[in-house]
Amino acid sequence: MSKKLIVVSVVVMVFLILTSAFSAPVTNSVGKVLPIDAAPPEYQVLRVMSGPATTLDWFISVYKRTNEANNYFGEPLVRLNKNFELVPAAAKSWGVSKDGLTWTFNLDKNIYWTDGTPLTAEDFVFSFQLGADPKHGWDFTWFYSPIKNWDKVVKGELPPSEIGVKQGKDPYTLVITTEYPAPYLPMMMLYSTPLSKKAYEKYGPYYNNDPKTSVSCGPYVLQEWTKDKQIVFKINTKYGGRLKPYLEKIIVTFGDPGTSAFKAYLAGEIDICGYSNGQIFTPADLEVIEKDPELSKQFHQGFGDFRTFYLGFDCYNPPFNNLNVRKALAYAIDKEAIVKTIIRKQGMIAYGFLMPGFPGANPEGLKDIITYNPDQARKLLAEAGYPDGKGFPSLDMWVRSDLASPTVVAAANAIGAMLKKNLGIDVKITVKESKTFMDALNSHKLPFYLVSYGMDYLDQSNMLGIWVSTGRHAWKNDRYDKLVTEASSLIDKKKRDEMFKEAEKILVEDVGGIFLWHQTPGVLWKPYVKGSDLTPDKYGITALHWPGIEGVGTTIFNIYISKDVLKYRK
């Protein structure tokens, strides 16, 4: 070979070696190759803030967990991606019987608890039985009614072993039977993060509160839980799931997100601010964000949990037992003005209960039923026997304190003023502490209130289901009850969609509630936080979609810290 060729070969080889050294794939502790623009593994740490928590486990207490950074210690049957589609998780595949009553989930055999035991159907059976066991006193039992015998077990009429969650033909087959056909059951199984039967029996319900006794079969393990200070999650190097996460650590600082999170974000102490299911930004915060070009780029709005804010009544007692009274109030409220000036970016006007984007939403068909028409409102009120508001009792609108952000309170005040101006009705606005509020609402003793509801799973039976007369609302419409109950267990998609559509129309026409706006919460995340779930979804929207970074979503598996973090002091 000529000298020239040798030199060129050497140069080329050196060049190749050097470039490959630069682009040598970096893997993290669980063996996943980090993206090219990712910071080194020791920087793959995500910091968030949460309110106080008593537990991290779904089946121990749903409401007492951390916000968003939870469900990491178990592998749920399915997960949700950014397009709101279900993807396999602990269940590789699943199917339903012809009559729609029996679901079979085939479990992934590769998933093990950190103590070596495999994740089997037994853990799921155990966890669900625990949830149904009345002695356990679980706070989310209402959700699983479709499961066979669930309600009877909760009432204490049958032992927990009778629920329709059982092992199938082998330890890796889980069979769920339902009381009636429930096509949305897989969607419900998003909420199935199991506990380890072995660990529970050995250490009791709080075995995950202490790193020494905590076991996980999910993507993260508990490294540290310093009470009142922080929780640190470390990557589970033995994780057997299909998807593996990039992040090495997640640090959750305890605080009151409503008052502290934004300031902490601005001070660079946390990386994500805001929840995927509710806004915690005050109008001043939004002002700061809007005026700052950097911050504006970091602010992303999404569907959240399809939350709708509405006014509710006690329709069983005067004055709201009169449909004309409810209609009068509905016509007297200028929703457009409220959304335009008060809610602004954080919501969109609501004509019905289902938010556009939610399956079965029908804004077009509903928007002309109730319009802003003060004259019509006055006429209706007069017809009801209260001309010009004479003789109408003064109202006290209760607003639930955990929902009473400055925006919501401002909207409530605006509504009160509108009712006064258009109908001559005196309205007081009272922010009521949550438990006091719910106590009155659930016992149907609350005359007039402003509240919201966000979805639990993506099906009309969930959202419309809460308006059935046995629920929290003091409103009853027999046809509505019939439609919703029947449609919920129909398999024929076309027919059930039609029935739900009709039901929602009845809800609006009969003014079970006055639907005001749908929330479009925004979340801030630092420019160095990246991930495929943080890129535009099939609607073109870039947001931290519900359920955010919870373990039942896919976001936690593709979120990572990019090299840009080195520019910011972390």
């Binding site: 001043a284 003023a417 922010v431």
Partner: protein
């Protein structure tokens, strides 16, 4: 009396304080006539505006005029401040009098009652009460009154004991004067002065208490304004809408300050040592 006014007037700050408070009282009484707008009148087209000619203090998030709300806030604050003190005096003075005067078992049990009440940190007990009673102006006055009589009671008791031991009281007792005469004609008039001072200091305390309760969400209901509530609301708008918090904070500060000046002035003017020294 003339002596008292004369000494009071020597204290410039006290005079200033009295003057300002009078203005505030005037504003509170004639709020309906003076205010440019109604306090619950919204104007969604002009929300969150800064101070301007049509809205000297700006507007809030739904276009309500802040100047109007501050004026009505004065009314709320003063009503709460004075009512709570009246309630505190009605409860605290008799209890303190009886405890100091009768002594023995009466004193023992009243003092235990005082200690029980002190076991409940004022604000937190008020929160309990408000959760139980519900919101509203009347309930706040009750809640703050129930937690606010303790100081007055203790001072009354201490003063009663002090005066009881004075020579002229013993002399009156020796003369066979009746208890009620002693209580009302000799002891009570000498207690009035320190009580007035305590009330003077207690009014701003009560106003502060209402502000704190309203800030926490346990206060009066919307749309009735109170300075405390306005301050609480403004915290969500601090960055960018300074005027929402500035004016109520300033109003509260000035009012509390002036009450303190007045109380200081009263203390000097009502101090018997000052008046007696004047007699040479």
């Amino acid at each position: 009396m003339r002596d008292i006014i004369r000494i009071y007037r020597k204290n410039k700050l006290a005079v200033f304080g009295f003057f300002v408070i009078s203005i505030i009282v005037f504003l509170a009484i004639f709020a309906d006539i003076i205010s440019p707008y109604k306090y619950d009148e919204i104007d969604l087209a002009n929300f969150l505006q800064g101070p301007s000619l049509s809205h000297p203090f700006g507007t809030d998030s739904i276009g309500r005029d802040l100047l109007t709300r501050i004026i009505y806030g004065a009314r709320t604050s003063l009503i709460v401040g004075f009512s709570v003190q009246i309630l505190a005096v009605l409860i605290g003075v008799p209890l303190g009098l009886f405890a100091g005067f009768y002594g023995g078992k009466v004193d023992y049990w009243i003092s235990r009652l005082v200690e029980v009440m002190t076991a409940f940190p004022g604000l937190l007990f008020a929160i309990f009460l408000m959760t139980w009673l519900g919101n509203g102006l009347f309930n706040i006055i009750i809640a703050l009154g129930i937690t606010g009589w303790i100081g007055i009671c203790r001072v009354t008791r201490a003063k009663t004991l002090e005066i009881k031991g004075e020579a002229f009281v013993e002399a009156a007792e020796a003369l066979g004067v009746s208890n009620s005469y002693l209580l009302f004609k000799t002891i009570l008039p000498n207690i009035i002065r320190p009580i007035i001072i305590m009330v003077g200091l207690g009014v701003p305390q009560a106003i502060f208490g209402e502000a704190s309760l309203s800030f926490l969400g346990f206060g009066i209901s919307d749309p009735l304004p109170s300075w405390g509530k306005m301050i609480g609301e403004s915290l969500g708008y601090l960055q960018g809408y300074w005027y929402m918090g500035f004016f109520p904070t300033l109003s509260l500060a000035i009012t509390v300050l002036c009450f303190n000046f007045v109380a200081d002035g009263l203390r000097d003017a009502l101090d018997p040592r000052m008046t007696s020294r004047r007699k040479g």
